[in-house]
Each structure stands twice: as structure tokens, then as C-alpha cells.
């Protein structure tokens, strides 16, 4: 095994700037996609637990469709297929945007993750004992009030661990955006390796970014869970990840 380390290289031009750009891109790609994914996921998840059969069917179809196609394939569909199927006027406008790959990645990742968020929401609502619904209604709350004051506060707390792991998944999945030309941290370190042949140093930067973020997010969510827990209601799991 012959390999000469040169960690100092990473702090010099142009690598340091690339790394910072890469980390920043990864973060805002993940955060924007997360906000969208959560919004769509809540909508679809609510569809899946309503009384209406049509809405339930739509919700189920969405989840099955987006969960059973690999994210990488979905990114290609959004990049190469969808703009061609839409009206010409729209694809003309879309293709002239400055960051088409970036916005394609945002759309692709958030639609994909929404299907997973929707499943978490459904299973959280299903996990609430039937008695809670009945008790809420029999105290005279209207259905909307029941959801607002009883079910949602309950479900939101149940969901915290699952939502944490979904956020970490979206964070890792942003790396797939490199296939359509987004320079996030994994793509950046790949480029540094290609320029300098210092793969170990470069990939260490990317790995540390992911590990540090994972640890940070888990600590924050554990704090959130403790801060808002209802005593005696939910048993906290012991696992870290």
C-alpha cells in the first residue's frame, strides 16, 4: 500500500472554495426539497386516511408509483421525459432557466420523498388508538377540531423518529443529483479526486459532512422530542439512528 497523504491541499485554492460551494449546495438542495416533500407528503398522507374512496385511491396510487421507481430513474424522467410531454411553450421557458438540473433535482427528490413522508403520516394516524377519535367526538368537538386539538398533536409526536430518518434520507439522496450535473458535495469531491488523485482526502471531506450532519440532526430531534413529549404518553426508543 503506497499512498501519500496531503491534507493541507484541501485548504488551498481552488479546492477549499469548491468544498464550501459543494456543502452549501447539498444543504439548500436538501432543505428546499424537504419543505416541498413535506408539503406534498402531508397532502397525500391526509388523502390516504380520509373517508373518501376517490381520495384514498389517489393517495395510494401516488405512493405506489413514486415508491416503486428508483429515484435515479425518476430524476431522468423529470429531466428528459417530462419537459417533452408538456406544452412547447412551457418546455421552452423551462429549458431556458439558469439552473435546470438543480430545479429538476428539487422536483425529483421532493416528489419521491413525499411518497415516503405520506406513508409515515398514514402510519402515525393509524397508530393512534380508536378511543382518542371517539373520545374527541363525544366531548363535542367537530371533526376539524378533533384533528386540530387531538389527533395532529398526537400524530406529530409519534412521527418524530420516522421524520428524522426521512430527513436524513433526503439529505443522502441529494447525492444522486450529481448524475444530472448538480455540483453538490459528493460530485465536488469526485472532481477534486479527478484533479488531484487524492481520493482519500477528498472523500473524507464528503463523508465527514454527511456523518456530522447526521449526528447534528439526531441530537436536535432528540432534544425536540424531549422538549415536547407528553409525560407517560410515548415511550422513547433507545436507538440512535
Amino acid at each position: 500500500m503506497k499512498y501519500e497523504f496531503s491534507w493541507g491541499m484541501l485548504l488551498g485554492a481552488p479546492y477549499l472554495e469548491w468544498i464550501i460551494d459543494g456543502i452549501v449546495t447539498t444543504f439548500h438542495l436538501a432543505l428546499i426539497s424537504w419543505v416541498l416533500a413535506f408539503a406534498i407528503g402531508v397532502l397525500v398522507g391526509v388523502c390516504r386516511v380520509t373517508q373518501s374512496r376517490v381520495l384514498r385511491f389517489i393517495g395510494t396510487a401516488y405512493v405506489e408509483l413514486f415508491r416503486n421507481i428508483p429515484l435515479l430513474v425518476q430524476l431522468f424522467l423529470w429531466l428528459y421525459v417530462v419537459p417533452q410531454l408538456l406544452p412547447e411553450k412551457f418546455s421552452f421557458w423551462w429549458n431556458r432557466l439558469e439552473y435546470v438540473p438543480y430545479w429538476t433535482a428539487v422536483i425529483g427528490i421532493s416528489f419521491y420523498t413525499a411518497s415516503r413522508v405520506a406513508e409515515q403520516i398514514r402510519s402515525a394516524v393509524m397508530a393512534i388508538p380508536d378511543g382518542q377519535f371517539k373520545a374527541a367526538l363525544s366531548t363535542g368537538l367537530r371533526p376539524v377540531q378533533m384533528y386540530r386539538y387531538v389527533i395532529v398533536p398526537y400524530a406529530a409526536r409519534i412521527m418524530i423518529p420516522a421524520i428524522t430518518s426521512e430527513f436524513l434520507t433526503i439529505f443522502k439522496n441529494t447525492s444522486l443529483a450529481l448524475t444530472i450535473g448538480v455540483m453538490e458535495i459528493t460530485a465536488t469531491t469526485r472532481k477534486i479526486e479527478a484533479w488531484s488523485f487524492k481520493g482519500i482526502e477528498a472523500y473524507t471531506v464528503a463523508s465527514l459532512t454527511y456523518v456530522a450532519t447526521t449526528v447534528g440532526v439526531i441530537l436536535f430531534m432528540n432534544w425536540l422530542e424531549r422538549r415536547y413529549q407528553i409525560p407517560g404518553l410515548i415511550q422513547r426508543g433507545k436507538e440512535g439512528l
Binding site: I69, Y80, N173, L176, Y203, S207
Partner: protein, 215 residues
């Protein structure tokens, strides 16, 4: 839509699907046993062993698959001193990466059985290994089946990263064909349908196991 392009490229896609499925099978065959070992190591009483296994699982699970692939793609030639083909680094990557996920499934499966079963086994005179083998594992595997099936689907979806290093699995074959024929719409849609059908079939199997577990 130009159906002729799809028909003309079906044999190619069929071969690609075969490659993807073979990759999936190899990946599962290697990573599941490794995952079982790591899970058992994690439940060990020896602090260094369980600590090492926990670290292994957590580090791998917080990194994306592509990055692990890049790591091995770059590291393998340095470690073994000579070049390695694409398939070799893919297989090593899948084995190591997915073993962490299998380890978590197996661990929670074993833990779901409960310590009383273990105590009962030990007090009826079985050794620790025998109790594991005859009492804990049969129950644990039944509890794990739905999650294991879902994980196999994820492995299948994960083989698409082979596209990135240009290995000729389903997605890569399709993208080559799309480039050659300049019909990306038809080819990518076909590939999406193929992936959907395989994964949906897998998810139906997982649901069957789930029904059986909870009935």
C-alpha cells in the same frame, strides 16, 4: 410515441434487467450473511465488539451509496495493489453498504423476540448458541420477513448507481439506447415501467408476509 423504438430495444433492455437482477442477487447473497454477523456482534456483551459493529452500521448508514461506491472505486486498487474491474468494486460496495441495513433489520428482529425466550431456553439446558439457533432465530426471521423483502427491493433500486460508473445494467443500457436512437422519452418511460413492475411485485410479496405476521 414511437413504439418501434421500444420493440427494437426490448432485447437490450431484457439483458439489462437480467444484469440488474443478477447484481441484486449477488448483493443480497453477500450482504445478508454479513449483516447477520454484524447484528450478532452488536448484541454481544463484549463492549469493543458491539461498539465496533455499532460504529460500522452508523457510519455506513449516514453516508450515501454513491459516496461509498466512490470510496471503494478509489481505495480497492490501493489496498490490493492492482486494478479492479467495475463489477468487483460494485459488489464490494453493495456487500458492505447493504450489510449495515440488513444488520439493523436482523438486530431489531432478534430484539423483538424478547429476553424471556432466551432465559427459558437457557434454563431448559440449551447453550446460548442452541437457543439462538432453535428458539430465537426461527421467531426472529418470521418477524423480519416483511422488512427483509422491502430491503431487497431497496437493494434492487440501489443497483441503479452502477449507471454512474458505466456498468451495463438496466438503466445504463437504456440510457445508451436513448442516446443512440435519440428517443429518450420512449426508452426512459419503458425502463420506469419495468422497474415499477418488478418493485411493485416485490412490495406485494412484502405485504403478504406482513399479513401473515399479524394474523
Amino acid at each position: 410515441m414511437d413504439w418501434d423504438v421500444i420493440v427494437a430495444n426490448l432485447p437490450l433492455l431484457w439483458r439489462g434487467l437480467g444484469t440488474s437482477l443478477r447484481l441484486t442477487a449477488i448483493a443480497i447473497a453477500l450482504s445478508f450473511p454479513l449483516g447477520c454477523l454484524i447484528a450478532i456482534g452488536r448484541l454481544s456483551h463484549r463492549a469493543w465488539l458491539s461498539g465496533f459493529c455499532a460504529g460500522f452500521v452508523n457510519v455506513l448508514r449516514s453516508n450515501p451509496l454513491i459516496l461509498i461506491l466512490f470510496w471503494f472505486y478509489f481505495l480497492m486498487p490501493i489496498i490490493i495493489g492492482r486494478g479492479i474491474n467495475d463489477l468487483g468494486s460494485l459488489i464490494v460496495t453493495f456487500m458492505v453498504f447493504f450489510s449495515a441495513y440488513f444488520a439493523e433489520i436482523v438486530r431489531s428482529g432478534i430484539q423483538s423476540v424478547g429476553t424471556r425466550q432466551m432465559q427459558a431456553g437457557l434454563s431448559s439446558g440449551l447453550t446460548h448458541a442452541q437457543t439462538m439457533r432453535h428458539i430465537i432465530m426461527p421467531q426472529a426471521i418470521r418477524a423480519m420477513l416483511p422488512a427483509l423483502t422491502t430491503q431487497c427491493i431497496i437493494v434492487f433500486q440501489g443497483t441503479t448507481v452502477a449507471y454512474i460508473i458505466g456498468y451495463d445494467e438496466l438503466l445504463h443500457s437504456a440510457s445508451m439506447a436513448a442516446e443512440r436512437t435519440v428517443r429518450p422519452v420512449e426508452l426512459y418511460l419503458t425502463v420506469a415501467v419495468i422497474y415499477f413492475l418488478v418493485c411493485y411485485a416485490g412490495s406485494l410479496v412484502a405485504r403478504q408476509f406482513e399479513k401473515r405476521t399479524y394474523s
